[in-house]
């Protein structure tokens, strides 16, 4: 406590005002997180309280119980959706990192014909919102005949211009001399890539992992458009059906299950962000103005 007071004494008035207002803002932004956590543990009676409450009074695991026991219209258990989601997220993250690292390294440090054209195409594809390419994507997926397979989930995400761009910006910062020194030292291209570029680009790798996990973990597009088989759909799709009447959910009884599922969806994001927060800031700073 003494240390905190000492810190305050060193600060000027404007700094204290700034600190307090930032703390208030942080507290405000913390409310939804608090709500998600509490909501999941509310018994049925509390869910519909008016006015709504933030803090749960009689915490219960009933919602989680319901979530796990309930099966969807197609008799697919909850765990199947979780399994699908996990498979898709893990595969996609590795695939995105692998492809974007290779592409970015070559684009950043090697000379070849049509390099600027390739870079231009990547930049161009950054401009399109995912919705605009929904139909072409569907056509490609059905043409490749990968509906109802995990590839249908993974492939659309692997072509990630954002990841390539971020990674290229980051690798650009690695001095050429370093790579040349390694060449003279006798390192092969593979070794330079694995032992030098990869460790140095690790902050960017972490950032891309987070961005990808968040995008894939919350994605319903692939399940809605490319997966006709219920057993191939993922968790976020399932949750979106829980509380909406049109898809066989129960608008009232489903609320508790939806609250529990909402927390489960949110947790991975939180954990990952807390783990990689620092790395993520680094990359964002590096890839921007410098």
């Amino acid at each position: 406590m003494g240390a905190i007071i000492y810190q305050f004494k060193k600060m000027s008035w404007s700094e204290i005002v700034l600190l307090i207002s930032l703390m208030l803002m942080a507290a405000f932004l913390f409310l939804p997180i608090l709500f998600i956590f509490n909501h999941a543990f509310k018994p049925f009676s509390e869910l519909f309280n008016y006015p709504p409450t933030f803090i749960v009074r009689q915490p219960t695991f009933q919602n989680f119980n319901d979530l796990i026991m309930k099966t969807s219209a197609g008799a697919v258990p909850f765990t199947r959706y979780v399994f699908n989601s996990l498979i898709v997220v893990v595969c996609t993250v590795f695939a995105v990192i692998f492809t974007s690292l290779l592409a970015a390294y070559v684009l950043s440090k090697h000379k070849f014909y049509f390099k600027s054209l390739v870079m231009g195409v990547i930049m161009l594809s950054l401009m399109y919102a995912p919705e605009t390419v929904g139909i072409p994507r569907y056509l490609i997926i059905s043409w490749l005949d990968i509906n109802n397979t995990y590839f249908g989930h993974i492939l659309p995400f692997v072509a990630s211009p954002v990841a390539v761009f971020l990674m290229k910006q980051f690798i650009d910062q690695i001095p050429n001399d370093l790579i040349e020194a390694a060449k003279i030292d006798g390192a092969t291209e593979l070794r330079i890539f694995v032992k030098l570029v990869l460790p140095l680009a690790f902050p960017a790798v972490a950032t891309i992992a987070i961005i990808t996990i968040q995008a894939v973990w919350g994605d319903t597009q692939a399940s809605t458009l490319f997966m006709q088989d219920e057993t191939m759909k993922t968790l976020p799709y399932y949750i979106s059906t829980l509380a909406s009447a049109g898809t066989g959910g129960n608008t009232i009884a489903g609320q508790g299950i939806a609250a529990a599922a909402g927390l489960l969806m949110f947790l991975p994001n939180l954990i990952i962000f807390l783990l990689f927060q620092k790395r993520m800031m680094e990359t964002m700073v590096h890839s921007g103005v410098k």
Binding site: L178, K183, D185
Partner: protein
């Protein structure tokens, strides 16, 4: 250890019309410390990079020893390179940085340890072997980079401006250590710099380059005292050589350097060179004179009474033992160096100076070439 030989080497870049290196022809003897010096963009670094294999040779042949190496990859050329910004692997410790090259060459572990420890002792970085490069100061980083080159025991050392990121004091100190190191290791070294002081102090021979062309290759003392052309004369030496425009005239079997301001008798030793020239060329001549040969001390000026001329002091610079006087000789500005000045010099003061014509250089104004060879 090995000799290096460049035979009519050219480097063309796609984006540029003119080649960056033109007809580079040079034999470097085994154990030599060769310095490539020139202003930025003169092709010196390109030449070094072609020797290292990081840049392709457009035309011509390069040999290390008797081996033709144009198409040999950098790691098989038996070279080690020191970069300007050190290029230490930031994710490896100092020890690992120095050991990596050996490890990749499958040198036995105890041998690696022996060589790294020995190099660390020479460079006095034994205490830092476990640290990461980011924990070291600039000078220490440069030592590690040198150490990485030393442990490899290569045939040729390549150094690309290794001292330019160090501060002045450390640079002078490291310069001396590099000379000492070359003295003990006797490895052929090719050293690139834009700093003429480094070139003069370190090289057993120096190569002065400009616009991709070799201007002069010789021992430092010769390059200083007998430059090939005005570019070399102006580039080597600090402060730069003074240039005064004029003409050489002949009257009653004597030659004079003459312009609006002065008429100086040229010593007889120059006559054979002057007689060789086409008399037309004598009309536009540039006289080159090192600052130490512009005598300003009153006591000494009288020793050269026939070469006296009036000047005006513009600026006085005290550089410790030396004093530089910036003088105005009519329209020309001339710098005079005085060692341990015993007299007071004030700006705006008139002064009689002597131009030591027996030390003068004469250049053809149109070609820039020295006429004294």
């Amino acid at each position: 250890m090995a000799s290096v030989s460049f035979r009519n080497v050219y480097k063309y870049y796609k984006s540029e019309k003119e080649p960056s290196v033109k007809d580079f022809q040079l034999e470097i003897a085994d154990g030599e410390f060769l310095v490539l010096v020139g202003p930025s963009g003169c092709g010196k670094t390109t030449t070094l990079r072609m020797l290292s294999g990081l840049e392709e040779v457009s035309k011509g042949d390069i040999y290390i020893g008797s081996r033709f190496i144009n198409y040999v990859s950098p790691k098989d050329r038996d070279i080690a390179m020191v970069f300007q910004n050190y290029a230490l692997y930031p994710n490896l410790s100092v020890y690992e940085n120095m050991a990596l090259g050996l490890k990749l060459r499958k040198v036995a572990k105890h041998e690696i340890e022996l060589r790294v420890k020995r190099a660390a002792r020479i460079l006095e970085i034994t205490n830092h072997l476990e640290k990461k490069p980011s924990q070291l100061s600039g000078g220490q980083k440069q030592r590690v980079a040198l150490g990485r080159a030393i442990v490899r025991e290569p045939a040729v050392f390549l150094m690309d401006e290794p001292l330019s990121n160090l501060d002045a004091k450390l640079r002078a100190q490291t310069r001396a250590e590099l000379i000492k190191m070359h003295g003990t290791l006797k490895t052929t070294t090719v050293y690139v710099t834009h700093d003429q002081t480094e070139a003069l102090t370190m090289g057993t021979r120096i190569v002065v380059m400009k616009d991709g062309l070799i201007q002069q290759v010789d021992k430092p003392a010769v390059v200083y005292s007998n430059p090939n052309n005005m570019f070399v004369a102006g580039f080597i030496g600090s402060p730069a050589m003074n240039f005064i425009k004029g003409a050489i005239t002949e009257s009653s079997d004597e030659f004079f350097f003459e312009n609006k301001r002065m008429r100086m008798r040229i010593p007889e030793s120059y006559y054979p060179y002057i007689r060789k020239l086409n008399p037309n060329n004598l009309r536009s001549i540039v006289l080159g004179l090192r600052p130490e040969h512009v005598i300003s001390e009153r006591a000494e000026v009288n020793n050269f009474s026939e070469w006296k001329v009036n000047a005006l002091i513009e600026i006085k610079e005290l550089m410790g033992a030396d004093t530089f006087l910036y003088l105005k000789l009519g329209e020309e500005q001339v710098i005079s160096r005085i060692v341990e000045a015993s007299e007071e010099y004030m700006p705006e003061e008139k002064l009689e100076v002597a131009l030591q014509m027996d030390k003068a250089h004469f250049f053809d104004e149109t070609t820039g070439n020295s006429i004294c060879r």
